[in-house]
Symmetry: C2
């Protein structure tokens, strides 16, 4: 396909479209969440339903068109849509479907006093989720070269739809949470629409209550689904009209194909990382259950337990990430300089999503430091916040450095294997040659650079480092999973310890936590998928 | 200088540093602005003073070091720090210095009951502004190749300092404004610290009141200064460790050297743009003065006048931008695909800063559309908001397309001029040749591509288009200046028309406007400097 005249122009138009759609949705959603305002949640539902219908029809149009024109997708980006992202998408998609069933059931329970759009919305959402998941499963790797501007606009509109659904879910969850906190404190400003409607038709039947409870527990999955889909769609948008050289397609791809199996786990790690990680996971789960049970009485003890576990866990994670970065100081693998939109997005998301937890931590620190009575809870909170910042920083440094290392040299090659196997060890050196000769050469005949020598000869040492890195990544992965579970399923020490709540007042503190915590939760999810990639690449 | 091992690593560290510093400052500043909280503005001043001292010493260290090592800066980026950005920086720097004098005077008036940091702060700020302006004037174009990581961290810290000063100024202005609105409405939540302190030592003397009034009028300049400095520092940071090919240094630079003079104005435009623009400017200034005078009584009439002028002005600007984009559809100049961090930042700032005005407009639209009683004011407000969105969109499209066009072909060359003059017309074609021969060739001997033929032969038509574009850019420039002056010097129809205020409530609407409007004001400034560049490049 011919080179595009001005790529940025098409991109600009599609970004403008999505920004406008997104701002309109954002305005309606935030207006709908405030009580005084004459915007009802039905308006929001109507907008979201319309957007999902439009997106679904564009996706169907796209799938139909590309199936008839095989030349529309001349290249595939091997980095895009790795298997765990796709797997996560399907998993969260299934959970979203279950949530939609619950939601339909909940709103059907009092059909007579709800508008039809509230029942239509989850049904359309289910259709949208199915179509979009199929689309992303099939086309995540496409570098599309047909109808460039239309495709860009379609993808950006899909992105805007997913982000709008995400915003609506986050706002809805915050409203629900504010509602549940208004029981024991008089701070609550936000009143859920469900409650307002509930005055006319109460949700009394057992089914209705099960449906309501179920769909609020499944919200986190819907939130993650939207963010996962947004990531994949963004990478697809970046790949529209991209030209990939033939040599570029594989190379990194080799690492991706290799999925961890139980057998390889025994062979490739020292086994300390997964065991310690599983231990932390089980202990964390116990602490979380105690915290949730004790929330009504004995909250102080539960909080001390919760904070203590987190301090220990975060401290260990910080040390382990630091250890990983130190190991890299002795690692002579070349850095991978190739263009890779997926990795760029990954890194940006890790850095960006960490901002949420950073902000919460800094607000906590200021509150604890400035407050005059200093007690155990304040000390624990301070340690927790400081370690949270340190852990995010060092984990990000470790993950980002890992993602930029080239894949390891293949060990134990017989010395008269062709140069092909060496491509991974010293890709850069080969690329700086005027033209890579495709004729097989012996390893011994390549110019003896020190870097190469290191990565070939002391195999046991290299292997030791690789094992260590795999241990580290598995430990961090399991810890991130437990630190994801806690906030995603409702642990809110931020509101229970009353420290920041008294200092900033309910409305400010609730705004800070409710805006920033979803990013913090997404960070954990994303760190898990990145650490899985680190494990595979090490 | 040798190529850096892993550029992204150094960048990541410096970004992490600046993000943490910035979040800490943000936490303190936002806590300080809220009444209940035990964080005082002295804490904020202390933090800002410490940051400015650190930045100043780093800058002095940098200047000292580069003056002794001439090999530290092997390349200059000719796109970085164009003359109007530098000029604007100096202008706003001088205004900031005057503001600092006023501020020192103001706080000295009641020296006995203020802490010393409040007087120290403007003095340190003056030193900081002088040192930083000199530094940016001298080194804006540097591509630094010494102590890469330290320089990156230093530049990012400078950026964080400027953004913190910007945040503090915006918050301070909002607090002051909320205070001045609390007189005629009971909505105000925020109380200015000045008022709190004022209860003990009132600002009664004439001098003190002049100082107070003066420094609040000079705030917009301080805000713009910080943003201008941030832009330049960001480009310097992007340029650290950058390698520039020798052919890349000039080329675009030619266009930059050419500054508009009154004589060239007569020669190069149809003279309609500047005349119409000046007319709008004068009318706008009159409307603004009437609006400011009538604010106390007859506010309704003043608002109708203000909105009517804005609707006409924005409508004209939208049409003119659209016309410019249409002219480009007939313009066969090649797009400039070269890497240019300054332009990338410019485009990102234009798109990003427009978000502020977009958000305000969408909130206005929702309020007007949903509200039941529909009157003249609502209609005007709706037209104003819709046109604001259209104008920002089309102006951005026009400016961004202009910035990506290559400089025009030099007209009227004698046909046996060397190929050098043609470089501008068809740089891409030359660069795709295996090696650009430096030997002079005749224009007639180059392969006759259609694109080239168009840009050389029909000189009058080309000239007509160029004139038209120059007219358009001057008209838009003058309109942007008047649309900058109005909000920057205190016109707040958002609070006077009571439409959105009643709809959203004071706290929400004030938060939206106070967060978004500074971006809108910055957008106007930035559009002016971009349009000047468009004028020169056309």
């Amino acid at each position: 396909p011919p080179r595009e005249g001005w790529k940025k122009g098409g991109r600009m138009l599609s970004v403008l479209l999505s920004v406008n759609v997104l701002l309109l949705a954002c305005t309606l959603i935030s207006s709908g969440a405030f009580n005084k305002v004459a915007v009802y949640d039905t308006d929001v539902f109507a907008l979201l339903t319309a957007m999902m219908l439009l997106t679904t029809s564009w996706i169907l149009f796209y799938l139909f068109r590309t199936s008839r024109r095989p030349d529309a997708v001349p290249y595939l980006d091997s980095h895009a849509g790795p298997i765990w992202l796709q797997g996560g998408l399907v998993l969260f998609g299934v959970c979203t479907l279950i949530m939609d069933v619950f939601k339909t059931g909940y709103y059907s329970s009092f059909f007579e006093c709800q508008s039809a759009i509230k029942i239509l919305h989850p049904i359309i959402q289910a259709v949208f989720v199915i179509v979009q998941t199929y689309f992303l499963w099939v086309s995540a790797k496409d570098c599309i070269h047909a109808h460039l501007d239309l495709t860009r606009c379609g993808l950006m509109f899909t992105l805007a739809t997913n982000l709008s659904i995400w915003m609506a879910a986050v706002v809805d969850e915050s409203v629900h949470q504010a509602h549940s906190y208004s029981g024991n404190s008089s701070h609550a400003r936000l009143t859920s629409d469900a409650e307002r409607a509930g005055e006319a038709c109460p949700c009394n039947t057992t089914f209705c209550q099960i449906f309501e409870r179920g769909y609020f527990y499944l919200y986190p999955f819907n939130i993650e689904y939207s963010l996962f889909a947004s990531t994949i769609v963004y990478v697809m948008w970046k790949n529209v009209g991209r030209l990939i050289g033939p040599s570029h397609g594989h190379g990194h791809g080799h690492g991706h194909g290799h999925t961890p199996t139980p057998a390889s786990l025994f062979r490739e790690t020292f086994f300390i990382g997964p065991v310690l990680g599983l231990f932390m996971f089980v202990v964390g789960l116990g602490v979380f259950i105690i915290y949730e049970v004790q929330e009504t009485r004995g909250i102080h003890k539960a909080l001390v337990l919760y904070y203590s576990f987190n301090v220990v866990c975060l401290g260990l994670m910080t040390l382990v990430s630091l250890g990983g970065s130190i190991i890299y100081r002795f690692d002579q693998r070349a850095m991978d300089h190739h263009k890779n939109p997926t990795r760029t997005v990954d890194v940006a998301l890790l850095m960006g999503a960490a901002l949420g937890q950073y902000a919460i931590s800094y607000y906590s620190i200021v509150a604890v430091v400035v407050r005059t009575p200093r007690d155990l809870m304040g000390g624990l909170n301070l340690a927790y916040s400081l370690l949270m910042i340190a852990q995010h920083t060092f984990q990000n440094v470790f993950i980002i450095e890992s993602l930029h290392r080239g894949p390891p040299a293949i060990q134990g090659n017989p010395p008269n294997e062709p140069v092909h196997g060496l491509t991974y060890a010293n890709q850069d050196a080969l690329q700086t040659l005027p033209a890579c000769p495709p004729t097989p050469r012996l390893v011994g005949s390549t110019p003896a650079e020190p870097q190469e020598a290191v990565s070939i000869f002391p195999a046991p040492q290299r292997n030791w480092r690789s094992k260590c890195l795999k241990d580290i990544s598995l430990f961090l992965l399991l810890c991130n999973v437990i630190l994801w579970i806690m906030p995603a399923f409702g642990a809110r020490p931020h509101f229970n310890n009353n420290l920041e709540l008294d200092f900033y007042g309910y409305s400010l503190w609730a705004a800070i936590v409710n805006i920033c915590l979803p990013f913090g939760i997404f960070y954990r999810m994303h760190a898990v998928s990145s650490l899985l990639e680190v494990y595979v690449l090490s």
